[in-house]
Symmetry: C2
Subunit: 161 residues, 2 copies
């Protein structure tokens, strides 16, 4: 459980947490890897969400996924890029969250990933929550907490616990 004051600090910035799908670069599962390579080298993000034609989130794909495929056979084979689809190389086992946000879950998931996809009903892709936005809130909390609150040690808590 996260304490109420700490939670409030995170909730102050909550409206900025969702980077809306309109502003997130994505690929479609039927895009070929030539297109994927172009997008992934140009946007400056190493991994992005993959949606299907119904705009449901179906996976994540990284530049590494694409390049590995290119070198995956015995010989270097760039022609493969035109015939293999994003859906064939993407990572499908992904963790997602829904709104309203649970700060505790977000903080926990972001230890291991740079962003968390947000989905609505029927896995409809809504956007992402990033480490960047959460770390802005952490900076805010770190700087403001003790300016706005008196923080005093409780008497009956043993240090070792």
């Amino acid at each position: 459980m996260i304490g109420n004051t700490v939670k409030e600090f995170f909730l102050e910035n909550e409206e900025n947490y969702l980077i809306h799908s309109d502003n997130v670069a994505t690929l479609t599962d039927t895009n070929n890897l030539e297109h994927a390579l172009l997008v992934l080298t140009n946007i400056g993000y190493s991994k992005i969400p993959v949606v299907n034609k119904e705009e449901e989130l179906v996976g994540l794909v990284s530049l590494s996924n694409v390049v590995s495929e290119m070198f995956g056979t015995e010989s270097f084979n760039p022609e493969r890029l035109a015939t293999v689809q994003v859906g064939d190389v993407m990572e499908e086992d992904i963790k997602t969250i829904q709104q309203p946000f649970n700060i505790e879950k977000i903080l926990n998931l972001l230890v291991d990933t740079n962003f968390i996809p947000v989905v609505g009903e029927q896995d409809r892709f809504q956007g992402i929550v990033t480490r960047k936005e959460i770390l802005k809130s952490v900076n805010h909390l770190a700087h403001e907490l003790e300016l706005k609150y008196d923080v005093t040690a409780k008497e009956y808590v043993e240090e070792s616990n």
Copy 2:
């Protein structure tokens, strides 16, 4: 300024912040891009530090830097990978930190980057501090702060400030 209690929470885990250079995948500025591509696709990190022969940190290189070079000329030219060096495509304008760590600076820099290189004298590469380790501390703080401390609003602070 970060308050003392918040700072203490971060310092509790400080010994784990430095991932020592022995445990960080790096490339040398004279490695060719063929080698760089192999390393970057295999390690699962999209960007890693570059050192020179004196083990000084000289830059960062990403899979995107390498792939862009391969497609950089008019035509797709994988042969270039054998002749171009990491030092030719790496990012050289990088922010570093030194020990002892300044938590405020670390929190601030990690808003915009996944890891911060740590250097010693003469830019000798010592390791990295990652968002992952800092976010572990954030989780710890979020869960423990109000269990261990009474947090009460100060009386004379106006909300709007």
